[in-house]
Subunit: 367 residues, 3 copies
């Protein structure tokens, strides 16, 4: 028999493969099992009882435990990785991320993406920026194809062939109807009977603009991030292939496996939850967000939240919106140095920020 | 805009915050998902088919897979950590821990605690002992608010302000009705057809007082304990915040992240299961128990069980009770030393003990 | 009171405990929870939407998400470990592994084994080979006792007492009816509407004999393997008891905890999935397979598939069979050496191979 033909399939797209107006219907799709729900809800250290206590969630008019926004984002986002960012150098920005229908265990999410911009780098011939708009819908037999989330992101993508022509340009993003579903306030229901289950000092009335809350808890990451990333179907090899790193460590950020950005994203949301979102009914929009430094196994993640503003929610006197900026940070050794915002010998390193509007219950109606 | 106001919220209570008769309705609550059930049931290495094989559990008259007592305890106990022991130095003793209604996947547990005693330390001005009684109830729409477990514990708690006055004193614990639910013995049912699924030599008839069973298996702990503890909503930072430890290692036991005591508690129950509880229908009571040494990532946990006594269970000729003492231990390096109960160069370190009464099937009725 | 009697129970069987024709009905049984399903499906990096997207699986005529063959094998195989291979030195060969009824979340698997051969080693007095045939059935209240998998394996087992007599001999294996269940092709159904969810280039028409596909992704294993193995009820101590290894490292392969062979088995299936089985409806048979080198925490696993042949599936013009050989490998440091199939300074080490026949959809009927 002849020597076998060897096949090595290309995975993911490179800069020259994208063009404005291009559409992807992503492969796979993902049913939110109880295993996935538990793994990530608990990992994130979220404290909102909507995601932890079905008795509470049903009292509030949800069908069951509610998938927290960080997990909706992680599952939906990861579906786009192979087509959009398997060959990316970095995720530059999250834009206009909005949430719609609630996601429950058993729902199956499927995601589509439209390319709205492609731009080669002016200084680096092997790189460019792809700007995409993605939308996740759920299938559950009832409210078929309800939109659960939509967002844009800009991602820095490698070229496969430095000399290939780039199809640069821009198109308008689609108008996606995606408004946060909120349960009705039921006049006769005994919400007070559930009020002890959430923090007493995080109602809409409690927030004051121009405050910064330093959240008290930290969480050390371990090599668990490899499994967490695989659970999400994120196929990028920089998170799970140590051999690839060992072959040429200088080629990779930090010379080691880098933690998938979705992990600090959801962890910062969770660390901030007891002080910011324990009485939230949902996240309205993340207008913009970005990762500002890489995270590695062994790092401990901390978070803080700035309260930027607050406003009424039209038609809902029982609720209000708070406008926040979520910050994530870690500390790295800095022997002999002194920094005002870190213990001696350490340096504070911002890793993440997210402009986030949260829909919060009013004490007047719920406690 | 002015510099923002900085807020750092206090989490948990300190010694001076407690008073006898004080009551907490703990936040959160916790629905037992299949993810949580699997993670801990399997982690613990339990072998009782009630927790592994729904076909067997239903045959015995349970509605579904049964949550093992170690997991009921872990979930219920963890709900009390923020209010009772987030600022604790050590958990001193478990007392009168009893189990009631069976817990199934889908049940939501909520927990209340009464402070029954507060006592400042006579020798250490920054510490004292808080004695509490906690009770966990479940919501599932059917047997609403059934008690699933009740227990007392004594915990050594730090003061926030050494000069603060302590509200010392004692009150009587409540009388809590909490009796182990047991399925009826059905005269015509083919229990023998299920008998091959559990160990053949662990029926009530097989146990003899004054024996000590050295369980054969060991289990090495890894940094997985960080995630396992977060899954349980245990918010104590000594289990998950490496940066806090790094800042002042001498302040912390062993100078590293300490494993949450509930982990060896449930693991020792599991390691003992094939020899002690493979034919148990439930744990009746843990009269007393305590941790005797800390556990760290890298340690291997072993267990042994003393059979202290056995007795009939009134009204149930098909069952009996065995009275046991469960011991957990690990080995630490002890170069050049010789210990009778350890291989040369190693020392045996007791880490846990629990006085435990187990309800066990009789061979006469089930095999 | 007298000194207690000390009991150390023997676990598992040794070579002298087996005899041809012997039958085991294994203890425990195992309900496939959503937690277990998620943990392993995602760990394995499988990409076939039947295991990820219930909307897709139901469209294809399955009742729900379908347990991938690697997980069926892991759960069923692990049930046999205590009786068959707790005291094994190595698993030598998998033979004639066939799959039957689909396995869904909620199914409870129970396994029986027949010993078909026992042979002492001619050169090593403390070892011998046990050849067994095992069959897994499921209980779910409907298609009661349907066979889900059957297989043979040869395992090298230690003697407990070197001088004990071995009951050598052979008997015929049982005839086990076990044919892969396949959903009907429904003439009017819109399969094309689901076609974007799986890879477009892995239909039966796409495979050519005498090709070798080098799968692009790798996955680094961590100490997570300890927990993964416990989840499966695999009780062998060489996977989870570091203290036992530390006492006499030279006694154990590599002087460290060895990863359970079922882990690379299922991981290699997953790594190959996007290129080989994304459009599979099931695995027909693994005629033979074996582990060729041990795997340890820190190793990165890669896979390749040879396409050996393809054939029609009688009565199913919509499907076809591909005959493959799945290879797993890792790389180890080899400073100063040059190998044609590895980067300089590294050596390629084959760890696993499996002759595998897969039932694959035809593009003509499904896309």
């Amino acid at each position: 028999m002849a020597e076998p033909r060897i096949i090595r399939k290309k995975t993911g797209n490179f800069l020259e493969d994208f063009f404005p107006g291009q559409r992807f219907r992503h492969k796979g799709g993902k049913t939110l099992t109880e295993g996935l729900f538990t793994t990530f809800t608990e990992f994130s250290m979220t404290t909102n009882p909507l995601a932890k206590n079905a008795h509470y969630a049903r009292g509030y008019g949800y069908r069951d435990l509610v998938c927290p926004p960080g997990l909706v984002m992680l599952v939906a986002f990861s579906q786009t990785v192979e087509d959009v960012s398997e060959n990316a150098r970095a995720n530059l920005e999250y834009i206009d991320m909005r949430f719609g229908a609630p996601v429950y265990v058993g729902d199956s999410l499927e995601v589509e993406t439209k390319v709205v911009g492609v731009r080669p780098s002016s200084s680096r011939p092997n790189l460019g920026i792809v700007h995409v708009q993605s939308t996740a819908r759920k299938h559950n037999g009832e409210d078929d194809e309800a939109v659960v989330a939509t967002w844009q992101r800009k991602v820095q993508v490698y070229k496969d062939d430095d000399s290939a022509e780039v199809q640069a340009g821009e198109v308008e993003p689609d108008e996606i109807e995606c408004e946060l579903w909120l349960p009705h306030h039921r006049a006769g229901f005994d919400y007070k009977g559930l009020a002890h289950l959430s923090n007493a000092d995080t109602y809409w009335e409690d927030f004051e603009p121009n405050t910064r809350i330093e959240h008290s808890r930290g969480r050390t990451m371990t090599s668990e991030h490899i499994a967490l990333t695989a659970i999400l179907d994120n196929t990028s090899q920089v998170h799970c292939n140590q051999f690839m790193i060992d072959l040429d460590p200088k080629q990779y950020v930090g010379g080691e496996l880098i933690i998938f950005g979705g992990i600090p994203f959801t962890l910062c949301l969770g660390l901030s939850c007891p002080d910011v979102a324990d009485n939230a009914l949902g996240d309205l929009i993340y207008t913009t967000g970005r990762h500002t430094a890489p995270l590695f196994a062994g790092d401990t993640v901390f978070a803080a939240t700035e309260i930027l503003g607050k406003r009424e929610l039209p038609g809902r006197p029982d609720l209000g919106v708070i406008e926040t900026r979520l910050h994530g940070h870690k500390f790295t050794r800095a022997e002999g140095e002194k920094h005002d915002d870190a213990p001696e010998g350490w340096k504070k390193v911002p890793i993440f920020e997210l402009d986030r509007q949260v829909v919060v219950k009013r004490r007047s109606h719920y406690a």
